[in-house]
Amino acid sequence: MRILEVLKADKDSEAGVPSTRELLENMGRFIEELANAGLPPATDGLEPSSKGAPRYSIDRQSRGSSGRRKPAHK
């Protein structure tokens, strides 16, 4: 089975506090161990949400006739 692991952000990751060389080396070694054990298929770090696009949402009013059928909710 495949499983997606999502690491939660914290103050440091959101502040874009840079990783230290030691941390990157430790992570690299650990990821190497996992990769050689056959997992994971992929892993990446995300830039802080300050670099994210504004969240994009579409509300029910702009929905076409073939949208998902859902009960109205907030």
Binding site: R2, L4, V6, P18, S19, T20, R21, L24, E25, G28, R29, I31, E32, A35, N36, G38, L39, P40, P41, A42, T43, D44, G45, L46, E47, S49, K51, G52, A53, R55, Y56, S57, I58, D59, R60, S62, R63, G64, S66, G67, R68, R69, K70, P71, H73
Partner: protein, 144 residues
């Protein structure tokens, strides 16, 4: 640049309500288009958080908690990995995806690339190791 798109969960996705056949076909057609455009690298839907688990390490203590988790708005229902030139391109594709769904909210986050790190922090040796890791990861993925 690579960008990760995360579709937020909602009551339906958390209830494990399956999409209609019509919606599956529309999604399939759209995913085919984004893939052929060379933009979509990977995408998957996630089971509801009732099938999920959280692992936390804090102050030396490990806690493992099984879902479901309460804060639906903070949960992820699916992801998509994009290869684009600008964030605006990713926003455009995501907008079209949301119109296929009818409604929803996606968060788009740029992915750190090796070039984002100073060489004192991310040495050439580490960069070489990362490349080897990614090659191995691709082999792992191909074995699925």
């Amino acid at each position: 640049m690579r960008i990760l798109g995360l579709l937020k969960a909602d009551k339906d996705s958390e209830a494990g309500a399956p999409p209609s056949q019509e919606l599956m076909e529309k999604m399939g057609t759209f995913i085919e288009e984004v893939t052929k455009a060379g933009v979509l690298l990977a995408t998957d839907g996630l089971h509801p958080s009732s099938k999920g688990t959280r692992v936390k390490l804090s102050e030396g203590k490990v806690t493992v908690t099984d879902g479901p988790f309460a804060e639906t708005k903070e949960l992820v229902a699916s992801y998509a990995l994009f290869q684009v030139n600008t964030m605006a391109e990713a926003v455009e594709w995501t907008t079209r995806f949301l119109k296929v769904l009818g409604e929803g909210e996606c968060e788009l986050r740029p992915i750190f690339e090796a070039s984002d790190f100073a060489p004192e922090v991310f040495s050439p040796e580490e960069a070489a190791r990362e490349e080897a890791n990614r090659e191995q990861m691709q082999k792992n993925a191909a074995k699925q």
